[in-house]
């Protein structure tokens, strides 16, 4: 079992955007997708997904519509809007820069002469 990492505040939005960027999904599907793409390394409190989803819809980054799911139930599907796609790219860049910076900071060795 891989080690679980606590999710950083603010990164949930990024994960949701990323998950949805691969195709329209409903709530539980998003959760599964996040687990899948992070190889189960990230755990989130499941309910916390929904306030984040509503917030993203309100910010115009996601749009939602009701449709029938594969098991024939009315379900709410989320997909990225253009603004959401743009935001995702920005967040990815920002994140990558941050990670690179932190990584290089951690790799620095104390100078031993």
């Amino acid at each position: 079992m891989p080690q679980h990492a606590q999710i950083l505040p603010g990164t949930l939005d990024l994960l949701i955007l990323k998950a949805v960027s691969l195709g329209p999904l409903y709530g539980y599907g998003i959760l599964l997708r996040i687990e899948q793409i992070s190889q189960g390394a990230l755990l989130i409190e499941q309910g916390a997904l929904y306030p984040a989803l509503f917030r993203l819809v309100r910010q115009g980054l996601l749009k939602a519509h009701w449709d029938t799911s594969e098991n024939n139930r009315r379900t709410k599907f989320y997909e990225l809007t253009t603004a959401g796609r743009k935001r995702l790219r920005q967040e990815e860049d920002g994140w990558n820069r941050l990670v690179a910076a932190i990584a290089s900071a951690l790799q620095a060795q104390p100078e031993e002469t």
């Binding site: 959760l31 499941q46 309100r58 910010q59 115009g60 379900t75």
Partner: protein, 878 residues
């Protein structure tokens, strides 16, 4: 986009509240179901799977609440909550609430009225189709000049002529009525884009041959009042100045002429100009009476048009005799036009300046009040923060309160704006010849909204700074009531109040001086026009010969003097004010040689009948009035005023009996009267020679003055009947009590007086509010100190004294700074002051006393609060 999306989400959340809740439940339940199904598939028993699914989901209700918040559903609920709390807070401090709301209401109201007036007077252009290239001439031109320009000007297209406010005497329902009209070209209607309400306008054909087509278009008002709005009016006849016209159309409602305040009711073609204009032969080259309007030819500037018109007129002059030499014509675009009434331009400047300053002061004052309030509430805010309130939420609460105050102020501003507007437009409805002006001014909704926006923004800005400051405040300090930084805000507020006091003193003194001046103007100078009725007889308008006209006037005067209740009656030359100095004239002394005509004394000449001085109560210094001794064919006599007499006395000769030559005609002086013209203190007195009306056969246009016992207007029917008995056709016009004429004479000074008086009143009020704010703030800040001092045995007076002292110091400093300001504004007002010096000590002292009184009152109210401090409560409170 985002705003729109969130707005939509709020609205849909609000209106589909229950559906949204249902959907939310469906979605969340589905999630738990899906999870439970997955778990079951992986081998967990159903009941256990459902339990674990719910556990993993977390707090169901908590997330629902978070979703609601994320969705924005909370916004309105929070707003209502904030509003309710805000109202409670406002009720808790009624003083602050009243002051803030009143300040706002006055500010917004006064500014709405002022800007509305400006808009109506100056910014609304005439209802032309395409006003951008519409131009007008500043000066009047004669009919031949107009026709010439119409034909030859290339820079101007569609040249039309317009002689507005022409006196038309019309027989309506068997009575001669005085109606203002206009003589206009047929193109006038077209260039203004007017459409007839009923019938038609006159054609170019009807405006082409002089005196051939007597057709008239009447105004909507006249049509309604005199003809009951029947369409049968078309084709009816109408006698205008004794000429029979045919009514062919009715103007649309609301059109009363091209200049603001015009009250035209009848329009006739320029080819009928002789009917409308009788002072010179209307079609002669030198009889300039028509203003021109035109459209600039494409690509032409007004400068090019002026140059062309100038050239054309010079060419016309060189080929045809009789034209006046003209200065360079002035042609302006309609939008740039300065209107016919100079005082409106003055009004425009004053109102703009006053409105701007007022808005600034009010924003500053509101800011001051809010800053003080923010500071006073630091403790409360600190407490709420300490109890876990979000900063955002606290700031929002304060902003809601600010908006609430603004909203209430704006609500109150509406009736205030309405009453100020009506006061402004009713100010001078009737001019000094008795003609009404109509100003269609309505408080403008857009202006109101715009001002509410500006004030609200200012309010918000100033509410937000102390709020932010409070929200960042060190909770410990704030709770103990010694927040750092509060002293600094106090200092800037004091500076603000001092400046206000200085400006207020200047305003109060200026208003006082103008008020005294107005009293002097209304009283009249060496005369008394109360109980005197003025009216104008114009026999020339109905084609009397001059000799018959004088006989008619003599007869009217004789019969009017016999009406019971009439003390005396007389008449003077018809143009201008009854007591005015008359027309420019040159005075020469016999035996003197004047190398140039300009070396002669410049005086004024006024032609008056016997009894004139008695009727106006202008006192004689020496000599006698005109009388029966002075026959039309006996040597001409004159009465001079004091100033002229003094000028003559410098020649070491007593004026009585001396011969003077007025405009080339010798007169013998028979009397000296006092100067009767009110003059501002910078204008020198006018030398006037009164000549005898009956000795000058050219005098036919008479302005009567009739002194009665009691109300002058009550005698009007009897006087009208008497005149009609001599000749019912002669127009009797410009009827008004002379007090009106007096008042109107210095209309600029009066407008300035009213504006400054209201300005001073407002300034005083605002000053008091500002001062109140400062002192109240201080009392609140020092409540604990007061409590301690009282606990240590200080009595109430000792406690209140420092606050009062602080107020007095502030006022004295402000007033001291205000004195030089007041001196210089008074000096600038010289041109409006009648009979009072700009440095009138009494006015300065009175102004300072009023200011001090108001200031003391403003300080006393909060100081009394300090006296009432209960030491126990104060100490526990802190």
């Amino acid at each position: 986009m985002r705003i729109l999306a969130s707005l939509r989400s709020v609205i849909s959340a609000l209106f589909h509240r229950s559906r949204a809740e249902d959907e939310m439940d469906t979605e969340l339940r589905a999630h738990i179901q899906d999870r439970a199904n997955d778990l079951e598939r992986s081998g967990v028993p159903r009941a256990e799977a459902e339990r674990r699914a719910r556990l993993e989901f977390g707090g169901y209700q908590k997330f629902k609440e978070e979703i609601r918040e994320a969705q924005g559903t909370h916004f309105l609920e929070t707003l209502i909550q904030d509003l309710r709390f805000g109202l409670r807070m406002l009720r808790k401090s009624p003083g602050f609430t009243a002051v803030a709301i009143l300040t706002l209401a006055l500010g917004i109201g006064a500014n709405t009225a002022m800007f509305g007036l400006l808009d109506a007077l100056f910014l609304q252009s005439i209802p032309a189709k395409d006003p951008a290239n519409l131009v007008r001439t500043k000066d009047e031109y004669s009919y031949p000049e107009y026709r010439y320009l119409q034909e030859y000007a290339l820079t101007l297209q569609h040249v039309v002529a317009n002689y507005s406010t022409a006196p038309f005497y019309v027989m309506l329902n068997g009575e001669s009525q005085d109606i203002q009209g206009a003589v206009v070209s047929s193109g006038y209607f077209h260039i203004l884009g007017l459409q007839p309400w009923v019938g038609r306008f006159f054609t170019p054909e009807e405006d082409s041959v002089q005196n051939r087509d007597p057709v008239a278009v009447i105004g909507y008002n006249l049509w309604q009042t005199a003809y009951g709005g029947t369409s049968a009016i078309i084709g009816k006849t109408l006698d205008i100045n004794d000429t029979r016209f045919t009514v062919i159309g009715v103007m649309p409602p609301d059109f009363r002429g091209v200049i603001v305040g015009d009250t035209d009711e009848i329009w006739i073609p320029t080819a009928m100009l002789q009917v409308g204009y009788r002072w010179c032969d209307a079609f002669q080259p030198g009889c300039a009476t028509l203003k021109l309007m035109a459209r600039l030819a494409p690509g032409c500037s007004t400068q090019q048009a002026e140059a062309e018109v100038s050239t054309l007129l010079r060419r016309l002059r060189s080929t045809t005799p009789g034209f006046d030499v003209r200065e360079r014509p002035v042609i302006t675009r309609d939008a740039e036009i300065a209107f016919g009434h100079d005082y409106l331009v003055l009004l425009f400047r004053l109102v703009t300046a006053a409105a701007g300053i007022l808005l600034l002061v009010i924003c500053a004052n509101l800011a001051g009040i809010l800053v003080a309030r923010g500071a006073a509430r630091q403790r409360e805010i600190a407490m709420r923060l300490a109890l876990g309130a979000q900063r955002k939420r606290v700031v929002r609460q304060l902003l809601t309160e600010g908006l609430l105050v603004t909203g209430l102020g704006a609500l109150l501003a509406v009736p205030i704006a309405g009453s100020i507007t009506s006061a402004l437009i009713n100010f001078d409805r009737i001019d000094n010849e008795g003609y009404p002006h109509v100003f269609q001014v309505h408080p403008d909704l857009n202006i109101l909204l715009c001002l509410i926006g500006v004030t609200a923004l200012a309010g918000m800005l100033f509410a937000i700074f102390p709020a932010l400051q409070s929200s960042r405040a060190n909770l410990n300090y704030a709770l103990k009531g010694c927040a750092p930084g509060s002293l600094r805000t106090g200092g800037s507020r004091m500076a603000l109040v001092s400046i206000q006091i200085a400006l207020s003193l200047a305003l109060i003194v200026a208003a006082g001086l103008l008020a005294r001046s107005t009293v002097n103007i209304n009283a009249g100078h060496n005369m008394d026009v109360h109980h005197v009725l003025g009216l104008r007889l114009r026999p020339l308008l109905v084609e009397y010969s001059p000799a018959d006209a004088q006989a008619f006037e003599r007869e009217v005067l004789r019969r009017v003097r016999d009406i019971p209740g009439i003390e005396s009656a007389s008449l003077a030359h018809g143009v201008g004010l009854v007591w005015g100095p008359g027309e420019d004239a040159r005075l020469a002394l016999p035996g003197h040689v004047y190398p140039k005509p300009a070396d002669e004394l410049a005086i004024h000449e006024k032609s008056v009948a016997n009894g004139y001085f008695r009727t106006l109560r202008i006192p004689f210094i020496s000599g006698r009035d005109f009388g029966e001794l002075d026959r039309p064919n006996s040597p001409r006599v004159a009465i001079v005023n004091e100033t002229l007499a003094r000028n003559l006395e410098s020649e070491k000769m007593l004026p009585i009996g001396r011969a003077i030559i007025v405009d080339g005609t010798p007169h013998r002086i028979i009397g000296v009267v006092k100067d009767a013209q009110s003059r501002t203190i910078i204008d020198p007195p006018i030398p006037v020679a009164y000549t005898y009306y009956w000795q000058n056969p050219a005098e036919v246009d008479a302005r009567m003055c009739i002194r009665v016992v009691g109300d002058p207007t009550a005698f009007l029917p009897a006087i009208r009947k008497t005149i009609a008995a001599v000749n019912p056709d002669v127009p009797v016009t410009e009827i008004l009590p002379l007090t009106y004429q007096v008042r109107h004479q210095f209309v600029e000074a009066r407008i300035a007086a009213v504006l400054l008086e209201s300005g001073a009143g407002l300034a005083l009020l605002l000053c008091a509010m500002g001062l109140y704010g400062v002192i109240a703030y201080e009392v609140r800040q020092r409540t604990r100190e007061v409590g301690i001092r009282m606990a240590l045995g200080a009595n109430r007076r000792d406690v209140a004294a420092p606050f009062l002292r602080r107020g007095i110091i502030l006022v004295s400093a402000g007033a001291a700074a205000g004195i030089p300001v007041a001196l210089s504004t008074s000096w600038l007002l010289r041109a409006y002051l009648v009979g009072v010096s700009p440095f009138n000590l009494a006015t300065f002292v009175a102004g300072a006393c009023i200011l001090l009184g108001a200031a003391l009152l403003a300080c006393y109210v909060p100081a009394r609060r300090a006296m009432r401090v209960d030491p126990m409560v104060a100490l526990r409170y802190q």
